[in-house]
């Protein structure tokens, strides 16, 4: 059982490599767990607990059971392989419904869609990057997206990236985003540390990362900050670069689900934007950021992780969040590269960056406090 450890504030984070599983515990418990992983006998364990932690035999017994249960659980998990699926598909003919060229970071990607449904899945998020076919710019790579045997197939040039059922279309969209970004930046999958379910804005090389459950106001807060001198780095899908541990831009449109009225005074274009159905209850509109398609993109240093909660009638409260709570919220909601150096660097990035919760209802005081945070002037 290969594992790696990081320490913070009297606690330890384990990362079990083959199972890509994280565990956060008290430092003292981590010592006991390590002993159990190394195969300590029950009697020696009890004696160690008595001697080191002044625990009763019953308490030692209980801890031994916990450690054993953890080991049994970790062992029962499937082994995660970081191998990429790159087999070559025999040529499958599909009728191209539409072809679109996208331009960003000075590069061009060509995408062939096999149906309107598949086009609707991807294109509206990136339509602001579309360029005319006749523009003289070499194509970096061609993405083919089509249906085969009731599965969505994504092929990049001759490589099969993957196949997904329609129920897993969010995973298809996630993989598309990753490949799209990698091709447009000339990077490989292993060049990314993680992708966070987060938005981010930046100013002068520093960014604020906004997190929180869907519907808590990430996109609205992002848009409000954009009216206040901040620039959009990403919305919903935030890549973290491996070598720098910094956040990288992603050019997806901002999806505004609630508070359309709150934003139309700043973005009148939203009133005319197509209202789309996210699910039976939620509608949303895309807000397209202004992007210089030729501009060379660069990563930004993360100033803070802020878990946003827009709550009607509440006072503005920015409170420091413990690293345990931050890890608890961030890890299950993120893709983290299962490569050892990347996993450890991800933990470093989280543990080194201040984390906060922000509750607010008044825009002006939210903007004020975010400015203070950005300028190290929190009172």
């Amino acid at each position: 059982m290969e594992y790696f450890l990081k320490s913070f504030a009297g606690k330890k984070v384990f990362w079990f490599k083959d199972k890509n599983q994280y565990l956060v515990s008290e430092s003292s418990f981590s010592i006991l767990l390590e002993k159990c992983i190394q195969g300590i006998s029950f009697d020696t364990f009890i004696a160690y607990c008595k001697d080191k932690f002044k625990l009763s035999e019953e308490e030692g017994h209980s801890l031994f059971e916990n450690c054993t249960a953890i080991i049994v659980h970790i062992n029962s998990l499937p082994i995660i392989s970081d191998q990429q699926l790159t087999s070559h598909l025999p040529h499958i003919y599909f009728e191209v419904y539409s072809s679109v060229s996208y331009h960003w970071n000075g590069k061009r990607i060509h995408v062939n869609y096999g149906s309107k449904q598949l086009e609707d899945c991807i294109h509206p998020k990136f339509s602001h990057l579309q360029i005319a076919e006749e523009i003289d710019l070499p194509v970096q790579s061609t993405f083919n997206i089509f249906e085969h045997n009731n599965q969505i197939v994504l092929r990049v040039d001759e490589d099969l990236v993957g196949t997904w059922s329609y129920e897993d279309s969010h995973l298809f969209q996630g993989k598309f985003s990753m490949k799209f970004l990698s091709q447009l930046t000339g990077k490989e999958d292993c060049d990314w540390l993680a992708t966070l379910h987060a938005s981010a804005v930046y100013k002068q090389g520093f960014c604020l990362v906004l997190l929180g459950e869907s519907g808590k106001g990430k996109s609205t807060t992002t848009s409000l900050l954009m009216t206040h001198g901040y620039e959009l780095l990403a919305d919903d899908f935030l890549p973290i670069e491996a070598h720098s541990k910094k956040a990288f831009p992603f050019p997806q449109a901002i999806s505004i689900k609630n508070n359309i009225e709150q934003l139309t005074q700043y973005f009148p274009v939203l009133t005319k934007a197509t209202s789309r159905q996210k699910n039976s209850e939620v509608q949303f509109r895309y807000l397209y950021p202004e992007i210089d398609l030729n501009q060379k993109q660069s990563s930004k240093f993360c100033k803070a992780f802020v878990f946003v909660n827009y709550k009607k009638g509440s006072a503005t409260k920015l409170m420091e969040l413990s690293k345990t709570k931050a890890l608890e919220a961030l890890i299950p909601d993120s893709w983290i590269s299962p490569v050892e150096e990347n996993s450890m660097a991800f933990l470093d990035a989280i543990l080194e960056t201040p984390c906060y919760t922000l509750e607010y209802s008044r825009n002006s005081s939210m903007l004020n406090i975010m400015d203070q945070l950005m300028q190290d002037e929190l009172q």
Partner: protein, 57 residues
Amino acid sequence: MKEKENREIKESQNKVNRRDALKKFGKYAAVTALGTFILLNPQQAQASSPGAPGGGF
């Protein structure tokens, strides 16, 4: 003999229950504060928001 079998079944059920609880909740508080731990599973693949826009198949 029967008593021993019963005990073994009970122990094995306990193990299953504990394992199930771990799987189900990903979080298990021990009887002492010392033994509190949290298991966290990252996403195994990059994903858009669940029920992402445009995914209405």
